[in-house]
Amino acid sequence: MKFQRVLALTKKEIKKTIREPAVLFMIFLFPIVFVFAFGASFGGVGDSQTAYSVGVVNMDQPGSVNASQILLTALSDTKILTVQAYVDNQTAQTDLSQGTVQAVMVIPADFSQSFASYQAAPNDPDTWTNATVALYLDKGSLVATQAIPPIIQQVLSALAGQSQQAQSSPFSLETASLVEVTAQSAFDFMAPGMFTFASIFLIMMVAQSFTQDRESGMMKRIRITPTSPTEFMTRQVLSYMLIALIQAILVFVMVYFMGFKPDVGIPIYAFAFALVLLFSLSNIGFGLITATIAKSSGAATGLSFLFVLPQLFLGTFVGTSLSSTAQIAGKIIPSYYVTDALTSLFLRGAAITSTAILVDTAAVSVSCIAILAAGILLYGKYYKI
């Protein structure tokens, strides 16, 4: 493989992107405008999930009354929260950082004792043993920060109210200090998906580029030269990955100025950009599949939406307000795993080596490389490269 050929073709592709107004708009300006408009318009939309998973570390030492069991039953009866038991806080925190649960509640050892003291003298707060339930929240979930605390607070109050109709209660709910709930805005929850969103329109660009080159005879002219199919495809992948990188940088700069400033280090950012680049492979692959199906560049534009829309709606920030069914469907889309990984990295504070990130990265790698390979093979079969 001669690097000179790959470089020449890559430069050509970059010039095309810069010089063709329609391509320039679609690739760079449209994602930025869309991100801005969508972020500004729908930033306040909440999550429409119907059940949220709460991890419980039950340290309670029940006496004659098992108050923690009453609390857990009451939480489950809300039909809004599903309770998952953990034997220790560390395991629960790990799952929280990886998005397995959206909150972790730690019931203190003296919870039943507190309940018993309340029952013994409901009108004498001085005799109560006060108990504090600690709550850790998923910073990457809008609902975790805004909906779960009031629900638990309400159940705790009801627990006291069930016994004596009292206004005050020995139970208090304390949000763990490490979780900076108030620092998160609705826009923050969408930002990871915006990074994913940016490169999706490569599908259309790749499909149009291949069909246009085919229609104009350029593909034939290149095939006449000694350029090998490997060199040709390498330049395609390289140039579009470069475009994806520029897109990601532009979107990052924009969301940064709109207020998204995750408290993570450079390695996390580098890993995030690497994920976006990896993700761009699937978009190049979908573009090639579209170019194989489409008979003309006009048809390619329309057909590309077969892949653009699922990637966009099921896997990026656009999907945060979709139904739970749609969110399950999203799990067959590469963009879902990229957005999930970026959310875990930026908002949940997950480490690069955490299980959730490794699983997401594996899903992105396998699916994106498979889609790219399928695109190359299909295109090569029906239209010689």
């Binding site: 020449a8 073709l9 002219r221 006449i224 030269t225 000694p226």
Partner: protein
Amino acid sequence: MNESAITVENLVKKFEDVTAVDGISLQVSKGELFGLLGPNGAGKTTTINILCGLTKPTSGTAKVGGCDVQKETGKVKELIGVCLQETAIYPYLTGVENIELFGNLYAMNKETLQKRRDVLLENMGLTGDAKRRTAKYSGGMKRRLSLILALIHDPQIAFLDEPTVAMDPQSRRAVWDFVKELKKEGKTIILTTHYMEEAEELCDRVGIIDHGKLIALGSPDALISKHKVKNLEEVFIEITGRKIREEV
């Protein structure tokens, strides 16, 4: 006999139930300017595509520069330059950028590429427009640039598929002069055309193809003399009973 640049034996190409090339055999000598004539759909471009390694023949063999076009496609592509019937150039690049792109695809070194680029631009009368984007070029200018792209790497064998189609007389004359210059340099040239006067003006020998078959082969003068007619157009009428360009 001169050394052969191109050898074709019993070449057949079928597209489902249509036989585009039907048992063509011919030889082109090194340095020869050979014309493939025939109406549209006769099989000229399919033959050229097979010789360039773009299309696989159904049967038969073809060698270009001594290399089998099926088994040694890579070597063949190093030897040849092809001016396609389509005016295929990138509209968003300038003339110079288009030329340099293809020079790099042929892995030319920078200095050689620049020298060759300047000579070809001068010969084709495009020096003044070289730095303009080709989207603004006229049809004739695009055809001339297309010819430069085919020959930028100074190939030993050039395939020119209808290089002057739809050109104005001035551009056509410039291309003719350029093709004559190539011949003087010792290049082997395969020219397809349906302009009979072009073939008579330029070609050492011509092969006339009709319905995929080679129906006549020889120098223009020899064919005209053999059929006792005035020109190649009448040679075609004499053999087929039809005008060559009525199907164009």
